[in-house]
């Protein structure tokens, strides 16, 4: 049976770019590949394209399934599809696995064409700016000169912001959800703990674990568990897990006992089997380095001086990792430049992860905003 409002069965494509890219870190990649998916149709005027950028552990698979037996749809399937808030009957939606990713784009797990060996530890650090550059290159290849919108949550929201200042003439709308103009010290601290847990895993082998057929699973598990703690609010954890235990009586040992422990262990295991450690530590670095205002909030006004897009900024009251105050800094920078901006602060209780949730009001906002974008095409 066909799934309601689903984009259906999808297939990724590969873009091979043979022109070199000079990265922010100073190194150059002579060629690279990006894996991507598209949904809906590009219209004749080629002005209905929306790029959806993924967050730390996301990928290009936004919506739909790979087969009828595929258990899990794309990560933003609740938002993207025919008749859904980001309506694929109206828009041509594109998801790209970022450079350095581990889902099919060139990354640490790929072969370095120069050495014919796996990149591993030698793969350069990539930044949000580099991603925007490579995304732009891929879009040009697809015949898209201008985007109706760039949408993203968390690290994806940072890419949306970066698009508005890096290519102000190529983007009509920027939707920035649960993001920040840069990371706080606390955020960088969490990232460093995650990195250290991976780097100090003996199976990490300084990043060259592929050759040894090892995976630093212990490090990845801990990194992911830590991440999950920070993506949820205390309240939602309390409601979901509380002090519930597997057994009626305490066991007085170190086996998994509390429900929250088994949740974190499950998430950690799942992630360690799917995600590449070298990619993870690089993605966290991209987060840490993102700072268009170079540390000075006053500069945010200057950052947006050349921006031309209209903006929708959304934050969640219970998100303590990227708090509403951080989104308000973005809004202030936009207002200082008389840029058109709408800002919503949602009362959702689930914390940072709320940007992925299926909530009527939240989706109503995106639906209404997308209607406005469509009306302007």
């Amino acid at each position: 049976m066909e799934e309601k409002n689903s984009v259906g069965i999808v297939k990724p494509s590969i873009f091979k770019c043979s022109s070199p890219i000079k990265l922010a870190c100073g190194k150059t990649l002579d060629s690279y590949e990006l894996i991507y998916e598209t949904y809906g149709k590009l219209n004749k005027k080629k002005n209905n394209a929306i790029l959806v950028c993924h967050a730390l552990s996301g990928n290009h698979h936004l919506a739909g399934r790979y087969s009828t037996k595929d258990k899990h749809p794309g990560w933003w399937d609740n938002l993207i599809g025919p008749g859904k808030p980001l309506d694929t009957r109206k828009f041509f939606v594109i998801g790209i696995n970022n450079l350095g990713g581990s889902h099919g784009s060139t990354g640490p797990r790929s072969i370095n064409p120069k050495t014919k060996k796996v990149w591993g530890s030698k793969f350069p650090i990539v930044t949000v700016k580099d991603w925007v550059e490579t995304q732009k290159t891929l879009l040009s290849e697809l015949g898209i000169d201008r985007l109706a919108a760039v949408v993203g949550g968390s690290l994806g929201g940072m890419q949306s912001l970066q698009w508005s200042i890096q290519y102000p003439d190529k983007i009509d709308h920027s939707i920035i959800i649960a993001a920040a103009p840069n990371l706080t010290a606390q955020n960088i601290a969490f990232n460093e703990v995650a990195r250290q847990s991976i780097i100090t895993d003996p199976d990490f082998s300084n990043g060259d674990y592929y050759q040894e057929n090892k995976i630093p699973k212990r490090g990845l598990r801990i990194a992911r568990m830590l991440g999950h703690i920070t993506y949820l609010s205390n309240d939602v954890m309390g409601t979901k897990f509380g002090r519930k235990t597997k057994n009626k009586d305490y066991q007085y040992n170190f086996n998994t006992e509390f429900d929250i422990e088994s949740y974190l262990n499950y998430q950690g295991d799942k992630f360690a089997n799917e995600f590449d450690a070298n990619t993870y530590i690089r993605m966290t670095k991209a987060l840490d380095y993102f700072d268009p205002a170079k540390g000075n909030p006053e500069n945010l006004s200057r950052v947006f001086k050349n921006a031309k897009a209209d903006f929708l900024v959304i934050s969640f009251a219970s998100d303590w990792r990227f708090s509403p105050d951080r989104s308000k800094e973005i809004v202030k920078g936009l207002l200082d430049n008389s840029l058109k901006v709408s800002y919503a602060e949602l009362s959702a209780v689930s914390g940072h992860d709320a940007f992925l949730m299926n909530d009527d009001h939240y989706h109503g906002i995106i639906r209404s905003y997308c209607k406005k974008i469509y009306a302007q095409l």
Binding site: D310, K328, V331, K332, L335, D336, S338, K340, V341, S342, Y343, A344, E345, L346, S347, H361, G364, I365, S368, Y369, K371, K372
Partner: protein, 199 residues
């Protein structure tokens, strides 16, 4: 919550005449956003609304207004001094806790400010009180136990407030239904509109 969509917003035309063409306008408590829409159509303004209530916020967005969700009670942090030509507080002041602070914030952010409010001294309100009950009317559509209005005032109250709080009145328009009221406005006026600047 402010009531959505009052269809006969006859006060829009008065406000329109007080706003310069192409002005940058901030509407505090913009409700459904129709005032900003009106000003955009008539005066080509660059308008922003502020709205706390999530349902009103969404209606504003749907009406094509750029709207910031925040609570006015915490001031206008995030808005630079003199960054707007006109800041409007339309039919909202009576529901605010700290009147002095919002007026001074409006003066900080806007060159000119416009305040409108239902006149509690209107004879129909007085009559209802004489009869023994709290007024319920088109301008004050709430029962006493379910009203957001905590700072109702009369025209003469507001005049006194301006005189004692460094606020200069440059224009004043009192109206009932669609008509201007010049004869005993504090008694015969249902709605008061003020254009103000810092003294």
């Amino acid at each position: 919550m402010k009531k959505i969509s009052q269809t006969n917003r006859y006060d829009f035309n008065v406000i329109e005449n007080w706003v310069r063409p192409n002005a940058k306008v901030l509407d505090l408590g913009c409700g459904d956003g129709l005032l900003l829409n009106h000003l955009k159509n008539k005066k080509n303004i660059l308008g922003f609304g502020i709205e706390k209530d999530k349902d009103n916020w969404l209606v504003s967005l749907k009406n094509g207004v750029d709207v910031i969700q925040m609570d006015l009670e915490s001031g206008l942090a995030g808005f630079e001094d003199n960054s707007f030509d006109t800041v409007i507080l339309s039919r909202t002041i009576q529901s605010m806790h700290n009147i002095q602070s919002i007026i001074s914030e409006m003066q900080r952010v806007g060159q000119e400010i416009i305040v409108t409010f239902p006149n509690f001294g209107y004879w129909r309100n007085r009559l209802q009180i004489i009869k023994g009950g709290m007024p319920v009317s088109k301008e004050l559509p709430y029962s006493w136990f379910d009203t957001p209005n905590i700072h109702l005032c009369t025209i003469s109250d507001f005049d006194n407030f301006c005189a004692t709080h460094k606020v200069a009145v440059i224009e004043k328009h009192i109206m009932t239904d669609q008509k201007a009221v010049n004869f005993y406005p504090n008694l015969f006026g249902a709605l008061a509109l003020y254009k103000l600047v810092k003294k």
